[in-house]
Amino acid sequence: MRKFLNDPKTFVNEFLEGVALASGGALKFDPRYHLIYRADMPDPNKVSIIQGSGSGHEPAHTMIVGRGMLDAACPGDVFAGPPVEFVTETTKLMNSPKGVLYIVNNYTGDRTAWEMAKELMEAEDYKIGYLLVNDDVAVKDSTWTIGRRGVAGNFFVIKAVGAAAERGAEMDELERIGNKVIGQVRTMGIALSSCIPPVRGTPLFEIADGEMEVGIGIHGEPGRERRKMGTADEIVDIMLDAVVPDLPFKSGDEVCLMINGLGGTPISELYLLYGIAHKKLADKGIKVFRSYVGEYCTSLEMAGSHLTLLKVDDELKDLLLAPADVAYRVF
């Protein structure tokens, strides 16, 4: 298997231990619950913010624990939401009189775990807030699916809410801000290759050279359509045509433009996509307030990219630019 691994079964805990060791004491680690948390939390004057989806999406979510972002993350195994016990134990550890805010990505597995945990914790008089992220326009809302998936847009929800929490905002204020971001963020993804879950050891599916998967999920779920590989220009058109009319984003809007890498695409290609998208948005009268190019929410070593647009106003701009410190950093 093409992986740096000792044992697939201990993969998640081994990399989480690395995250904690790399933090120089800022983060702590509890292997029983795949739990990474800020050593300086909980703080009675701050709502605690926690998350835990499947592993395999790093740096989401365990590497964005830190000041101004998450207070703790308790992921499940690769591509599986966390067991309920992980969530309840994390909640107890991070409990604050101002409450604990769950930021949940919209997948059946994640939702059932976090909603069960919410019921259980509320029954014990914990104060729990709840945000559901669902930015992926590749999935059409319908009465019978659980609806849009939460993908790269999750970063912006955490960034905005995390900044406000750091300033002492109350739970209802955080839920308002979070839902504002969720209401204004949209994503569309395209994959050029599959990925290899460690326990499996082989690619989850195959994309032939010369083909691409349009509307890919971040768990290796096939997307909505297999198409002939396009040029970068054509691909950006596909992504913008899915994202822009959906909100819709309109001439005069200011946006954050994220080109998220799925893990196996070089950052040079991401910047190439960025440049094309930036110019096409300018042609539509949509102005980029700030760029986000790199890996935010991956699918192991999948080659591919998500394009995410977030419409911003003064409140969100201020929160997005507020300082934050997480494990995932350059310097």
């Binding site: 499940g76 591509f79 599986a80 966390p82 309920v84 019978w144 326990v199 599916f205 290796g220 779920e221």
Partner: protein, 223 residues
């Protein structure tokens, strides 16, 4: 039909857990075709603990055993399967209560409670390509066998086998269904043509239980 004892519950649980652990890769493979390939592994995380700790569980009643299993599964299993299988065991356990012997009607009531728990937790109905599409027809078959004099052999060996066969066939029939739940649902039309991993697992587990039961109680009266 005789009553089932705590001993019988032990057999069923251990057989089920062992079957899940042994078939983890197979189930995960099925889930990888249009899902995300974690199903068997997730389930194994929980049932490995069940197997390892089973002897330490409180065995004072069927309800105590099943509720404990429900807690372990929903505590240890991630993805959609933890809450769904955990809820199923919890509800069955609550229905069994402090019984130490189960009449056939009790077993049916427990299965029905598990099914409605799954439906409540995951929001799925029949025909949406989930494990319900094997579990519900198997339960119907078991219930029918109970009131069928031709199936009244010792210890319901034939009735159980019949239920397992119905599950296996029903699982096979999920092939033509459109997935409407779980991650497989994202693939839309492309989910048609392959069996549902959860339904197949139900079939495989019931077959293993039926075999173990036959080994313990011998051939039943043929139908």
């Amino acid at each position: 039909m005789a009553q089932a004892s705590i001993d019988d519950v032990d057999l069923v649980i251990k057989t089920m857990a062992k079957t899940i652990v042994d078939n983890a890769e197979y189930f995960a493979h099925l889930d990888s075709i249009v899902g995300d390939g974690d199903f068997g592994y997730s389930l194994r995380n929980g049932f490995e603990v069940v197997l390892a700790d089973y002897d330490t569980f409180d065995k004072s009643s069927v309800g105590a055993i099943l509720k404990k299993i429900g807690l372990v599964i929903s505590g240890k299993v991630g993805g959609v399967s933890g809450p769904i299988w955990g809820t199923a065991f919890l509800r069955a356990g609550i229905t069994a209560g402090d019984r130490t012997e189960l009449a056939p009607g009790d077993v049916i009531a427990m299965l029905r409670a598990a099914i409605s728990g799954i439906m409540a937790r995951g929001g799925a109905s029949l025909g949406e390509k989930t494990l319900l599409d094997a579990l519900v027809p198997a339960t119907d078959a078991l219930e029918a066998s109970i009131s069928d004099p031709a199936m009244q052999g010792d210890h319901a060996v034939a009735a159980l086998q019949r239920a397992a066969d119905v599950a296996t066939k029903a699982a096979e029939e999920t092939k033509s269904m459109l997935a409407m739940r779980g991650r497989a649902a994202y693939t839309g039309e492309r989910s048609i043509g392959s069996v549902d991993a959860g339904a197949t697992a139900v079939g495989v587990i019931l077959q293993a239980i039926a075999s173990a039961w036959r080994e313990k109680y011998g051939e039943g009266v043929p139908a």
